[in-house]
C-alpha cells in the first residue's frame, strides 16, 4: 500500500513538473528557454522556444547565442565510421524530418529528402562510399554520385515547443559535442518598430531611420523611407535633407520607391539647395519618381522657377517637358506663364502641348486666357479644340 502511495505521489510530482511548465533551464548548453506565447503560432506562424537567459561562461555564451533569440531548429553533425553507422544516422534523420544532410569528403553538403519516412532512399553503400543510386529514386535528384565518400551525417530536427526542446536537444547532447541552433526572427516586429519611429518622430528617430536607409537591410529600407516621409511633416534637419538628396539619385539608390519617398520628403521640407538634384530626378527612368520630383519642385515654388524654365529650354525629352509644364502651372507666376507661352510653339509633342495649355488654364490670368483663346481660334484638330474650349470655360 505504501509503495503504491509513493509511486502515485512520484507520478503526480513528475506530471506537475512536466505539464504546463513555461521555462526550462538547460544546464549543458547554458541557457534558459521559455515557451513561445501560444498565439505566436496561430498569428505569425512561428514555432520554437525563446532564449530567456544565457549563463556566463556557458557553451551558449561562448557561441554567441543571445537572450531573446528564437530557436526553431537544431542540427547535430555525426561523423560516420562505417556502413552501419551511416545507415543508422540516415534512418534517424529521415524518420523525423524526412530529410538528412550528407557531408562529403570533398567538402560538399548534399540534402537527401524523401516524401515519406517509409520511402526507400535508393542508395547502396560500400562502407561509407556511395556504390550505386537507383534511377528515379529521391537520391537520384540530390546530386550525389557513385563514388562519393560520406564523411558525416547532419541530422536536423524542428523544435516546435518546450517539450520538443527538452526531448530533442537532450538526446542530441548525449551523442555529440556540437549542436547548431537555427534562430528565427519576427520581421513584423522590426517593421512595426520602423513605422512607430515614423509616428513618434524627433531627432533620434530620424537618426535611426537614416541609419536603416543607409544600411543593407533591404526589408526595412523602404519602410524607413516611408516613415521619414511621415515624420518630415513635423521635423527637418540638414542631415535629413542631404540624405534625401543623396537617395533621390539613381546612382546611389537603386530602389525607385525609396527615391520617390525622398522626393516627397523634399516636397515637405522645401529646401532650395535640393533644386538641382530634383531637376536631375526629372530624368529618372521611373515615372513615379519623376512625378514626385515635379511635386517637390512645385512645392519649393518661385526659387525653382528659373532652373525649371532653363531646363524646359534645353531638354528634348517629352517626359521631362511634360512634368516641367505641369510644375510651372502649379507655381503659376507671370514668368511661368510667359515661359509656357513661348515653349508652346517650339514643342512638337502633342501631349506636352496639352499639358502647357492645361497649365496656362490653371494660371488663368488675362494673358494666359487670351493665348488659350488664340490657340482655340486657329486649332484645326477638333478634339484639341473641344479640350481647349472646356479649359477656357472652366477657367471662366
Amino acid at each position: 500500500m505504501r509503495r503504491i502511495l509513493a509511486i502515485s505521489v512520484l507520478v503526480m510530482l513528475v506530471a506537475l513538473m512536466g505539464c504546463g511548465q513555461h521555462r526550462y533551464r538547460d544546464k549543458k548548453i547554458g541557457i534558459e528557454v521559455q515557451s513561445l506565447d501560444p498565439d505566436l503560432r496561430g498569428r505569425w506562424g512561428v514555432e520554437g522556444v525563446v532564449v530567456t537567459k544565457v549563463f556566463p561562461d556557458s557553451p551558449a555564451q561562448k557561441a554567441g547565442l543571445e537572450e531573446g533569440e528564437m530557436i526553431y531548429r537544431v542540427s547535430v553533425r555525426r561523423p560516420v565510421k562505417g556502413k552501419r553507422d551511416l545507415m543508422k544516422n540516415i534512418s534517424e534523420g529521415i524518420k523525423y524530418e524526412r530529410m538528412v544532410t550528407l557531408e562529403l569528403a570533398d567538402g560538399r553538403n548534399i540534402l537527401l529528402a524523401v516524401r515519406s519516412s517509409r520511402d526507400n532512399i535508393g542508395i547502396t553503400f560500400d562502407g561509407t562510399r556511395v556504390k550505386s543510386i537507383d534511377e528515379g529514386s529521391p537520391s537520384s535528384l540530390s546530386g550525389l554520385k557513385p563514388g562519393d565518400q560520406i564523411k558525416a551525417v547532419i541530422i536536423t530536427r524542428t523544435i516546435k515547443d518546450l517539450d520538443d526542446y527538452k526531448k530533442i536537444v537532450g538526446k542530441m547532447v548525449k551523442s555529440s559535442h556540437e549542436l547548431t541552433f537555427s534562430t528565427s526572427e519576427l520581421s513584423g516586429v522590426k517593421l512595426a518598430a520602423v513605422r512607430a519611429l515614423g509616428e513618434i518622430g524627433g531627432a533620434e528617430a530620424v537618426k535611426v531611420l537614416l541609419q536603416i536607409l543607409e544600411s543593407k537591410e533591404e526589408l526595412f529600407r523602404e519602410p524607413a523611407a516611408k516613415a521619414l516621409e511621415r515624420l518630415s511633416e513635423r521635423f527637418s534637419s540638414p542631415d535629413l535633407i542631404s540624405k534625401m538628396m543623396r537617395h533621390l539619385q539613381i546612382r546611389y539608390e537603386p530602389n525607385p520607391e525609396i527615391r520617390a519617398s525622398c522626393a516627397l520628403v523634399l516636397a515637405k521640407l522645401k529646401p532650395v539647395e535640393a533644386i538641382p538634384t530634383l531637376i536631375k530626378a526629372l530624368y529618372d527612368p521611373v515615372a513615379n519618381v519623376r512625378f514626385k520630383a515635379g511635386v517637390a519642385l512645385a512645392s519649393i515654388g518661385t526659387p525653382a522657377l528659373d532652373p525649371l524654365i532653363e531646363e524646359l529650354g534645353k531638354t528634348q525629352d517629352p517626359n521631362v517637358q511634360d512634368i516641367i509644364a505641369s510644375t510651372l502651372g502649379e507655381i503659376g507666376t507671370g514668368r511661368a506663364r510667359d515661359a509656357l507661352i513661348s515653349a508652346y510653339s517650339q514643342i512638337k509633342s502633342s501631349s506636352v502641348r496639352l499639358s502647357i495649355l492645361n497649365s496656362l488654364a490653371k494660371i488663368g490670368d488675362e494673358k494666359a486666357m487670351n493665348f488659350l483663346r488664340g490657340v482655340s481660334a486657329t486649332e484645326t484638330d477638333p478634339q484639341v479644340k473641344v479640350y481647349l474650349d472646356t479649359l477656357i470655360a472652366k477657367a471662366k
Partner: protein
C-alpha cells in the same frame, strides 16, 4: 335556494364583465393620443413618425407619468436632441422601472441608430445617478454575462458610459468590470476589457495585464482577440504605468503581442520609447549558431 345561488352567480358574472369592459374602455380613453400615435406608426401615412411623436407629446401633456408615451417620444423624435430624447427615455424608466430598464438595455441599445443609442446611454446613466444605481448596475452586469453577444456588447458600452471618468461613477463600475476579467465566458472578458479601455482608469492597468495579457504556468490560455484588445485598452488608458506595461510587452521577445504593443505605443508614447524601438531594430536576425559542448 338553488335558484337564489344561480341568480347571485349570474349577477356577479355580469358585474365582473361590466368592470372589465369599463377598465378596457377606460384605459383607451385615458391614452387616446397614445393609441392614435401608435396607430399612426402602424400606418403607411407620410411623415408618420413625426405625426405620431406629436400625438405622444399630447399624451404626455395629458398624462405626464405615462411611461410608454415618454418611451415612444424618446424612441421616435428624431428632431429632438440626444439629451431631450434621453430625458424621455429616462422618464419612461422612472415611471415604470421594472419594464423600461429591461427595454432600454435589451432592446433600445440594439437599434442601429447612433443618436438613439446615445440617448439610451444618457437615460441609463441618469437612472443610475438618480437612485437606480443598484438595479441598473445589477442589470448591466447580468447583460454583460449573457449568452447573447449583442447583449454583452451593449452592456459593455453602457458600463463604459456609466463608469466614465468625468461624468460617471468609475469608483463603483471599474472594480465590477475588473472582476469580470476572470469570467468564464470569453465574450464577457472581451467586453469588460473594451469597457475598461474606454473608461481609461488607472486601476485597470494591472488587472488587464495580469489577468488577460500575461501568459503564465497557471494561466496559459486566453483568446488572442481578447489579448490584442487588452493591449489596445492599455493604450487607451495611456497612463505611465500602462505605457510601462506596453514597454515590458515589446521587450518580451516570445510574445505575440509585440507588434500590437509597438503600434499602440507609436500613437501615445513620446521620445522616451525611441531607444527601446532602436534596441528592437538591433536584435539579431535569423541565423545559425554553433554551440560546442
Amino acid at each position: 335556494m338553488k335558484g337564489k345561488i344561480r341568480e347571485i352567480t349570474a349577477i356577479s358574472l355580469c358585474f365582473l364583465l361590466f368592470v372589465a369592459t369599463l377598465a378596457i374602455l377606460g384605459c383607451g380613453a385615458q391614452n387616446e393620443h397614445l393609441a392614435k400615435g401608435k396607430e399612426l406608426l402602424k400606418s403607411n401615412k407620410r411623415r408618420k413618425e413625426e405625426r405620431a411623436v406629436a400625438e405622444f407629446k399630447l399624451a404626455v401633456k395629458e398624462e405626464p407619468d405615462n411611461a410608454e408615451a415618454h418611451y415612444l417620444i424618446g424612441y421616435y423624435d428624431e428632431n429632438a436632441t440626444v439629451q431631450e430624447r434621453g430625458e424621455h427615455l429616462y422618464l419612461a424608466y422612472k415611471n415604470d422601472r421594472r419594464k423600461y430598464l429591461d427595454v432600454l438595455i435589451y432592446e433600445t441599445l440594439r437599434v442601429n441608430d447612433q443618436d438613439l443609442i446615445q440617448a439610451t446611454l444618457y437615460a441609463l446613466r441618469k437612472a443610475y445617478k438618480t437612485g437606480g444605481q443598484k438595479e441598473v448596475l445589477k442589470k448591466l452586469l447580468e447583460a454583460i454575462k449573457s449568452k447573447d453577444s449583442r447583449d454583452r456588447y451593449d452592456a459593455g458600452l453602457a458600463l463604459a458610459y456609466i463608469g466614465d471618468k468625468k461624468d460617471g461613477d468609475p469608483d463603483r463600475v471599474v472594480p465590477e468590470l475588473i472582476k469580470l476579467l476572470d469570467h468564464k465566458r470569453m465574450g464577457t472578458r472581451l467586453n469588460a476589457v473594451l469597457a475598461l479601455g474606454e473608461i481609461g482608469d488607472e486601476r485597470a492597468v494591472n488587472p488587464i495585464y495580469q489577468k488577460i495579457i500575461l501568459i503564465t504556468d497557471e494561466k496559459s490560455k486566453e483568446s488572442p482577440e481578447v489579448r490584442r484588445l487588452a493591449v489596445e485598452a492599455l493604450g487607451k488608458i495611456g497612463t505611465k504605468s500602462a505605457i510601462d506595461k506596453l514597454v515590458v510587452l515589446i521587450q518580451d521577445k516570445g510574445s505575440s503581442l509585440r507588434v500590437d504593443a509597438i503600434e499602440v505605443l507609436a500613437k501615445i508614447a513620446g521620445q522616451d520609447v525611441v531607444p527601446i524601438l532602436t534596441q528592437i531594430l538591433g536584435e539579431k536576425g535569423a541565423r545559425e549558431v554553433k554551440v560546442k559542448i
